[in-house]
């Protein structure tokens, strides 16, 4: 069973629908024990970091995610979920989970060409192979919508980068955790392929 973490952040149902489409059992839940007992975990979400962290804490879900990470369960972060795993966010000056060291920073407008939010389809330059991207064409595009982006301290944690205003970390990987700033559930066939790969993933960070 895949647990989709429910913390009042929008967009949970679209991940569930994609899992249904792939024929994978999943449940949207805010139940601590259900989450730590799940086979794998999706941590999605759109919205603001401050409110998201407050909602997570209220339900002790911050502890559930950290425990799931420590017990090596495969975890997939999406969009806001990807930002929340960092240490701090400039959005609402929020202290986050700190699973990956570094902060979440706001895009600053560079010129008329660059609007915020970064909204639409963009490519990813993968720095190495990863099980989640097996069978995904390198020139595939993915759907982004965000005004903040993660900035990990350790470059080893950056799996993929995307160009918008600056070159930013669009995919993070740390052992059994993979996290992406784009929405795989809204990125057509390549996004569904990533979700399908996640459903089979054993949590190992490398491709043999």
């Amino acid at each position: 069973m895949i647990a989709i973490i429910d913390y009042n952040a929008g967009n949970l149902t679209s991940v569930k629908r994609a899992m249904d489409y792939l024929g994978k059992d999943s449940v949207i839940t805010d139940d601590y024990s259900r989450i730590i007992n799940a086979e794998r975990i999706v941590f999605p979400g759109v919205g603001a970091a401050g409110k998201a962290m407050a909602d997570l804490k209220k339900r002790r879900l911050d502890q559930a995610i950290i425990e799931a990470f420590n017990t090596k369960k495969p975890i997939l972060g999406i969009c806001l979920g990807t930002q929340i795993i960092m240490e701090t966010s400039e959005e609402n000056d929020t202290k986050c989970l700190g699973i990956i060291k570094g902060k979440v920073i706001r895009f600053t407008r560079g010129s008329a060409r660059f609007k915020v939010p970064h909204m639409g389809w963009n490519t990813i330059a993968l720095k190495r192979n990863h099980p989640l991207f097996q069978g995904v064409d390198r020139d595939s595009e993915f759907y982004f919508v965000h005004s903040y982006c993660p900035a990990p301290e350790d470059p080893e944690k950056i799996l993929g980068e995307t160009d918008y205003i600056t070159r930013f970390a669009s995919v993070l990987a740390a052992g059994n955790l993979a996290a992406m700033q784009f929405h795989p559930e809204k990125s057509g066939a390549p996004g569904l392929k990533i979700l399908a790969n996640f459903c089979e993933w054993d949590g190992r960070d490398y491709v043999e």
Partner: protein
């Protein structure tokens, strides 16, 4: 680099497309769910549904349509038309839409933009703008005025002023429709699009007037618009999305070519 989005717009009334849509080599279909699925397969980057159901009591039909679409297509889609309250927004978003678009209702009650952004996030709220070119006056310094009721009612609100206000209130995107260009197939209103897009810091979707792929090139080049709405040019089989995108790609506009 970010791709320019090509977005087909479907008009829906009582759960059916208002006109049949004919894909190349296909028969007419009037089902919004099947049509959306077809556009998804053909490489649309996003889909817009515009609900023109007259009666508010029949809104549940649209919600059911949104739910069915969300089971079949895995790209973003938005729903506009008849969204008057936060509860209307909630229903559409819960049914699976990414975004809701407010138009006349925002003119009548601008607070719905900020309330919607607060409740669901800015990225969910699209400000739909219907605009007509008018004489420049003190009240309408840009020479573009906001209109409602399909262009029949002038509001006395300057379009540029309204776009800036909409952004300040929390809109995450603007869908900018020129009533003058709409239905002409003579091309988008480029001056209007450039004016609005260069004066806000949120994405602008150009709407109204598309007849050929070159019209899309004109409105997307030099970053006038971030996305282009299309309707009849693909609805009746004159072009496929792929043909439009190949043309844009050949002229140096970055579009998503792999899906």
């Amino acid at each position: 680099m970010l791709s320019k989005r090509i977005i087909p717009c479907l008009d829906v009334r009582d759960g059916r497309l208002t006109k049949g849509i004919k894909f190349k080599g296909n028969v007419d279909i009037g089902d919004p769910v099947e049509t959306a699925a077809q556009y998804y397969m053909e490489g649309a980057d996003e889909i817009v549904f515009y609900d023109i159901t007259a009666s508010h009591e029949r809104r549940d039909i649209m919600i059911e349509t949104v739910r069915k679409v969300a089971e079949k297509i895995f790209i973003p889609f938005s729903v506009g038309g008849g969204i008057r309250t936060i509860e209307d927004m909630r229903q559409v978003l819960l049914a699976g839409a990414e975004k809701v678009s407010v138009n006349s209702s925002a003119i009548r009650n601008p607070g719905i933009i900020s309330e919607g952004a607060e409740a669901f996030g800015r990225q969910c709220i699209v400000l739909g703008m219907d605009v007509k070119k008018v004489r420049v006056t003190d009240k309408i310094p840009s020479g573009y005025e906001m209109v409602i009721d399909g262009g029949r009612t002038y509001t006395g609100i300057d379009a540029l002023e309204w776009a800036r206000r909409g952004e300040a209130l929390g809109a995450g995107e603007i869908c900018l429709n020129s009533i003058d260009a709409d239905g002409t197939k003579d091309g988008y209103e480029l001056t209007l699009t450039g004016l609005i897009s260069s004066n806000v810091n949120i994405p602008v979707i150009a709407s109204g007037g598309a007849g050929t792929p070159e019209h899309l090139f004109d409105v997307l080049k030099d970053d006038k618009a971030d996305a282009a709405l299309i309707a009849s040019m693909t609805h009746y089989g004159s072009y496929t999305i792929k043909e439009i995108k190949s043309y844009l790609n050949s002229r140096g506009i970055k579009v998503r070519m792999n899906w």
